[in-house]
Symmetry: C2
């Protein structure tokens, strides 16, 4: 009996007979897997989807399913809301946001194909309302179709690309985008007659001696089943944030401070299978990490300081950028300093008020912060804010006003207070079209991947925007499905 | 003709006959490889070393060959210099220095075995003089045996473990430790009759269908030769800093700003071979990174500020810790602010004076720094320094004095000015005893690795100390050699 573990592929010559035969086998029926399945089927391939859970959706179903889209003059929603978004503008923004980690080819494809992707989703039945949510929010609780979800309006990005909102939110009240999105995609898969095996755990891939992938081994009802995939296997099995061993191994800095978000099957199985078949892993330390210090958006009127009582970021950036920089400060201590007028009970912050005062000095003493330095920070901030200026971090004048007594310091030190949450951004190294790559840049024949099983377009919290992950998994899931279907 | 690339191991069944047969084959004759060879031979194994260059030494020969050692009451040199170093103290320091990335088992073994390692080196003929170099230096240019080479005396480490110097420098004038160290190790290998093949490039490993490593393929004089290793292959082929493609792929943030240091064969070949045989890679983004803003040590009297004119680190930390934090600051700009009295022509800094002034305001305006904030930073620093205090970053009072006119701002912004240099710290995932690990934590039978081909003890610039890499490669090189020799 051959050993079965994700990192040990089954040898083709040890396969006595196949239990399933298809052109394209897809592992995982979340956002990436459903899009891969639809495209592969539409390209004429026979497709079977194997999903470990009893239902579709994966982590996409748990998300708001916002999708980051734009360029090419703007989506229908952007244009209706008065925005003229160019592909270059979107590209420039994403390149700057991803910084040194940017995958230029992936970003270019995404920006150039974004408008088509929007139309494809609309044609599938995904509803977007032609209206904009103007509030600074993490997710839209209204049914508005468009909102700013990243750092577009914040320094330094607003000087690099014209700020345009690109977060597309489904036309549904409350934070219910994920379930609706999943329902629509699932129905589209069913409509096409694509076979879906639920409660089917993929165990490992089947490879021949040359390293080509010929299929996979799944467990259904306690029995191993052998699946032949004539054209290819597409791994869309999510990330690894729920695998504590892997997370502590590869991303220990984040593991220490953050709660994982995702579904319980984000256990890295797809990554391990791809690795077992020769795939390289990329940026396994990188995570989406956030501290939801807003909403309420009025907290943006406050300032964030470190243990030295110094600001370290413009507070109007996206929450994940705040978290990424909070994680990097020397000394233990991150605080939101805010005036009574602007403090509202936070939704998800989990911070603790550790000091208050009618003067800055009182506040600093009460919170145990360096009195002189915090005092300078706040006085200088207030003087400049009164003039609508922030010479240090260039926070937008929309959020500048002097902070007034009673002052409070809210402790959101990573690992001590504050609900830091994370999911993984590292994974299999792939071409944008889904081919899983070895360390030498060659592809593993017959193996494709998309979604959080791969290191995709969003590669760092610092430059994240809501909608980039569901955008990435659906867009590149489609490409991977198409690529697998086209293989001879 | 089977394909030959590091990531495609040769199949055992495709080997018609062996050109070399040995118990243990070692790839690379640098610090790790020589120690592995000596230990394997001393354990009774037949050993052949394959070295791609025409001479021994690898990057260890190019280094100062300082080794970080201590614990167990102290090495002979430490005791002679009046230091009583406990294993717990050394362990506590290294655990804090490596932070979340610390490998506790590796650090524990290293600290517990450090005194024996010192004695082993001395017995091989490595000379250490019982004297301490008291100056703050990056490398000892004197023949003194002991110096502080890390962050031991700096906050916060001095509060976590009692500061003790642990950098052991060879008894040789000038920066000539590496060549002498290499000469001694090479002679020890030769004395044992260990066969060394120079100009022999390892191409790939030989594995059977179960994934066990049985040998390797090397190229000598243009011909492929097949090497059978009955007990195991030990990969000691250096890191990947000289492989531009790999560096930009895995460590793009460092690739952008730093010059690589090492030998031209630090091309990742060992890492690629280990990966090809199923080994996982760990922390591939992590690099040693430094900005040598001292010597001269008097620059420590200056302060380092970011684009906001704010300090971000205690300036008495190890140079690599400065570089790691300089890399993380928001906005473009890192400056050494220093008074005329303490400015000396730097050795390796590569910074540029971009502003001077008789007042702080003049300086800030001349350098284009935020006037108000730099002015506060410097005034507050000076007032506190006059009292021997640094309430923000707890710089040691040894380096505290008011900074006086004429002031200068030296631009050392990463990517703009300053000689930032780097080498890689990520590599194959291994047990401390050298077994190369798959992603599931199982070992690859017959495959061992040590040195910068692995992710070893030093895992981040932030907690680096000179002597940790040569310490790691020699200590764990020995363990890997012993482990391979002991395999049935």
């Amino acid at each position: 009996m051959p050993k079965t573990s994700p990192t040990h592929p089954r040898r083709l010559e040890d396969v006595p007979e196949w239990d399933f035969e298809t052109d394209v086998a897809i592992v995982g029926f979340g956002g990436a897997g459903s899009c891969a399945a639809i495209e592969a089927a539409d390209a004429g391939a026979e497709v079977i989807v194997f999903e470990v859970a009893s239902a579709s959706g994966g982590s996409t179903a748990l998300s708001s399913a916002e999708i980051y889209m734009g360029g090419s003059g703007g989506t229908r929603v952007q244009r209706a809301c008065g925005y003229d978004d160019s592909t270059k503008n979107m590209f420039d923004y994403l390149m700057a946001a991803q910084g040194e980690l940017a995958d230029e080819e992936r970003i270019r494809l995404y920006c150039e194909g974004s408008l088509d992707h929007f139309q494809w989703l609309v044609d599938l039945g995904v509803p977007y309302k032609d209206s904009e949510l103007k509030a600074r929010a993490i997710v839209a609780l209204s049914d508005d179709g468009l909102l700013y979800t990243g750092n577009e309006k914040a320094w330094p990005f607003r000087d690099i690309a014209t700020p345009i909102p690109r977060g597309h939110n489904l036309q549904v009240e409350g934070d219910n985008g994920g379930p609706l999105f999943t329902q629509i995609l699932t129905r589209q898969v069913e409509t096409r007659g694509i076979r879906v095996e639920y409660d089917a755990r993929a165990l490992t891939l089947v490879t021949n001696d040359a390293g080509e992938v010929h299929g996979l081994v799944v467990r259904i009802d306690g029995d191993e089943k052998l699946v032949r995939a004539r054209r290819g296997v597409v791994l869309c099995a999510g990330g690894f944030v729920m695998n504590k061993t892997m997370l502590e191994h590869f991303a220990p800095e984040t593991a220490r401070i953050a709660h994982p978000i995702g579904n319980p099957f984000d256990d890295g199985a797809g990554i391990r299978m791809g690795f077992g078949a020769g795939g390289a892993l990329l940026h396994m330390n990188q995570c989406f990490l956030t501290i939801p210090f807003y909403p309420p958006s009025v907290h943006t009127y406050g300032i964030l300081v470190n243990a030295q009582g110094q600001r370290f970021i413009n507070e109007d950036v996206y929450h994940a950028r705040v978290a990424a920089h909070a994680q990097r400060q020397v000394g233990e201590g991150i605080y939101l300093i805010i005036g009574e007028k602007r403090w509202k009970q936070p939704n998800m912050l989990g911070g603790e008020i550790v000091g208050t005062g009618d003067t800055i000095e009182e506040l600093a003493e009460d919170a145990g912060l360096p009195v002189e330095n915090l005092s300078h920070t706040l006085r200088a901030y207030n003087e400049n804010a009164a003039r609508g200026e922030d010479p240090l971090f260039h926070k937008s004048s929309d959020w500048l006003e002097p902070i007034e007594k009673t002052f409070a310091a809210v402790d959101i030190t990573p690992g001590r207070h504050g609900n830091y949450v994370a999911f993984t951004l590292g994974g299999l190294s792939t071409r944008p079209t889904g081919e899983v790559l070895r360390l030498d840049g060659e592809s593993v024949p017959g193996l494709y991947a998309a979604g959080r099983t791969t290191c995709g377009l969003p590669r760092r919290a610092e430059g994240y925007a809501s909608g980039l992950s569901v955008g990435d998994v659906t867009f590149f899931g489609r490409l991977a499905g198409r690529q697998a279907a086209a293989r001879a």
